[in-house]
């Protein structure tokens, strides 16, 4: 049994370890080690295409995680008031939303957005005053943010819900008993106590969006996020530069996930 689990970990982490190892390769070939160097990291960070993609990824991740955290928290708090079969239905739908494969979400979002844009664009053109060029809605940063926010909102709801149900109902009642209005209770009791869960949800959402390739591939339009850049570069051959970028993305994600875990644990202990 021990050997078995050892093998599982070996299979899981060997490729990742190799990528990290080769990112420090001094030579320019991905497959043979020729001494140790950090130059590919410098090369990657000097590449304007990489920096552009990184900027887009950051923007999308930050915006979608923020939207998901706010809407997800509100949804979780709202759901708390619902009981009975309706509650069970909502719960099921949210869990399913998290488990739907990315490719399905990607295609579904693409089709939905294209359909909506096709409906709205003629209207915009018709309503736009004479002379100016009417704006047209199309795929891009906006659709990326929307698609990621939609998916990660479900994550936030699940995390915040877990924390909410562990809070004593009586804390809210105690606050109301001490003359706090419902909004006052939300602001002074519910929100501070949910803060760790919300922050953890934000970090997970950020990581998800930052790493996501599948959904982004469908809805990015002409925009390039970091995973999309990596994908398109790989078609021209794996270089140590790509390995370096991959290692950096992985390192950053790992750090964020660990922080999220720590926050959640700390929150639970209180």
């Amino acid at each position: 049994m021990r050997i078995y689990s050892f093998c599982v970990y070996l299979f899981l982490y060997t490729p990742i370890a190799i990528i990290a190892l080769f990112s420090f390769n001094a030579g320019r070939h991905a497959s043979q080690l020729q001494g140790f160097s950090g130059k590919w990291y410098g090369r990657a960070l000097d590449n304007p295409f990489v920096m552009d993609a990184l900027e887009t990824s950051f923007l999308v991740a930050f915006a979608s995680a923020t939207i998901a955290s706010v809407l997800g928290t509100l949804a979780a708090v709202g759901l708390q008031g619902i009981r009975g079969p309706a509650r069970a239905l909502f719960d099921a739908v949210i869990y399913i939303a998290v488990m739907i494969p990315g490719i399905v979400i990607g295609i579904a979002t693409l089709i939905a957005l294209v359909t909506v844009f096709d409906q709205i664009n003629p209207w915009l053109a018709a309503l736009w005053p004479e002379g100016g060029a009417p704006p047209t809605l199309s795929m891009g940063v906006g659709s990326l943010i929307a698609a990621h926010a939609m998916f990660t909102m479900a994550l936030v709801i699940i995390i915040v819900r877990a924390r909410l149900s562990s809070l004593e109902r009586e804390l809210g009642e105690a606050s109301a008993d001490l003359y706090a209005t419902p909004f006052g209770t939300f602001r002074q009791v519910t929100l501070p106590l949910l803060a760790p869960a919300i922050l953890a949800g934000f970090l997970l959402s950020f990581t998800f969006s930052f790493d996501d390739f599948i959904i982004a591939f469908f809805v990015a339009g002409s925009e390039t996020t970091l995973p999309i850049y990596i994908f398109s570069s790989i078609r021209r051959g794996v270089t140590p530069e790509i390995n370096a970028i991959g290692t950096m993305v992985m390192g950053a994600s790992l750090v964020l996930l660990i922080i999220a875990q720590l926050i959640l644990r700390r929150g639970d202990r209180r």
């Binding site: 804390l171 109301a176 008993d177 209005t181 419902p182 009791v189």
Partner: protein
């Protein structure tokens, strides 16, 4: 209102109930789906009194309290606070405060911030200095000076209990509701806190409503006790009144210890009641509560009213001593009568039997003074 009536109201300031009650329940019922948690509760809570709801688990004590606090809306009937109907008034608008069984202290706030929470919600805002002074005084009252900056989880159970009290009394509520506030404490600490609670109530003059299923707690703390069973109020009275004049077996059993003998009651035209038991035994007693003139009933006699004697007693009952428990001030005897079965008798230390003591298996006689026996409903 004519002047005479208002004069009477004024004069009644220290009397019994002529002044307006702090809170009132009028025929209040509450059902949760199929469950009738409270039925037709009618009760006046007088200013400055210490009232307890006493009853076994699930009898609706918490529900009654939560309707006063505003967390539950009555299904029917009226809740009044300070003479105003508050059925639909949200909890945060009611001039009452509650101490929760779980304390429900805010874990993300310090002790001082917990205590000042209620004051900080007030509009127009209360000045910072005033809030600080009040918090300091409240913590002084519950003997927690110097704990202001502590975190809640750094406090012991007893200390948390006192923070919860301070958080409520700092608001100077018209009515302080306490839901089994001492249930989570160990025995010794509970005794201490009981005394503190009573002192606090006298010192502050705030009306206290306490929920408990501990009869000793209710008896030692309350001015009045409201005994409940299955969602209904069974009897309301002072501890002494409930002990001396229980209206039903349920109350006699719940408040103190008593011997009960089942039989058939006959009440004659003069109002004198007799209970006929199996084996031809018959006892006279004082009929209490709404007892039918004929039918099933039971006789209740407190252990300390039973006299135990070595010599045959005129009209007494012959028994055999079965067990003896030394209780310090008293000695408790368990004796057995051929028809009545086991009977508990309490002998004070000074009396000669207490001094010499009966031994197991010894023959003895018991009787009780006229008027000590009560005849009451069996439930």
């Amino acid at each position: 209102m004519d002047s005479q009536a208002s004069q009477a109201e004024y004069d009644g300031d220290f009397g019994s109930g002529a002044i307006r009650p702090v809170a009132e329940l009028r025929g209040v019922s509450k059902s949760f789906g199929e469950v009738l948690a409270a039925q037709d509760l009618t009760l006046r809570i007088e200013a400055g009194e210490f009232l307890s709801f006493l009853g076994p688990s699930g009898c609706g004590k918490t529900t009654a309290l939560r309707m006063l606090a505003g967390f539950e809306t009555p299904t029917s009937g009226e809740v009044l606070i300070d003479g105003e109907r508050v059925n639909d008034l949200a909890p945060y608008r009611r001039p009452v405060n509650m101490v929760f069984q779980s304390y429900a202290l805010f874990p993300h706030l310090s002790v001082a911030d917990n205590v000042s929470y209620g004051l900080r919600q007030r509009r127009p805002r209360i000045e910072r200095r005033t809030i600080q002074d009040k918090v300091t005084r409240a913590l002084e009252t519950v003997r927690l000076t110097g704990f202001e900056k502590r975190r809640i989880w750094e406090m012991s159970g007893g200390q948390q209990q006192r923070v919860a009290l301070a958080r409520a009394i700092v608001n100077e509520p018209k009515l302080l509701l306490l839901d089994e506030p001492l249930a989570a404490l160990d025995r010794k600490l509970r005794k201490e806190m009981q005394i503190e609670l009573q002192d606090l109530q006298r010192q502050l003059g705030i009306t206290f409503v306490l929920v408990t299923h501990d009869q000793e707690e209710a008896l030692s703390l309350s001015d009045r006790i409201c005994v409940m069973r299955a969602g209904r109020i069974v009897q309301i009275g002072t501890p002494q009144d409930l002990y001396d004049n229980p209206q039903s077996r349920y109350v006699a059993d719940f408040v103190g210890v008593s011997n009960f003998f089942d039989g058939a009651v006959f009440i004659d035209a003069g109002g004198r009641a007799r209970l006929r038991l199996a084996g031809g035994l018959e006892f006279e007693g004082r009929a209490v509560g709404d007892l039918a003139a004929e039918g099933e009933a039971c006789l209740s006699i407190r252990p300390e009213q039973i006299r135990l004697s070595r010599e045959p007693l005129e009209g007494g009952l012959e028994v055999v001593v079965q067990n003896r428990i030394f209780l310090g001030e008293h000695t408790e005897y368990l004796v057995r009568h051929a028809v009545l079965g086991p009977v508990i008798a309490l002998a004070p230390r000074q009396s000669e039997i207490g001094a010499s003591g009966f031994v197991q298996g010894e023959r003895a006689w018991i009787d009780w003074p006229d008027g000590a026996a009560l005849i009451m409903r069996r439930i």
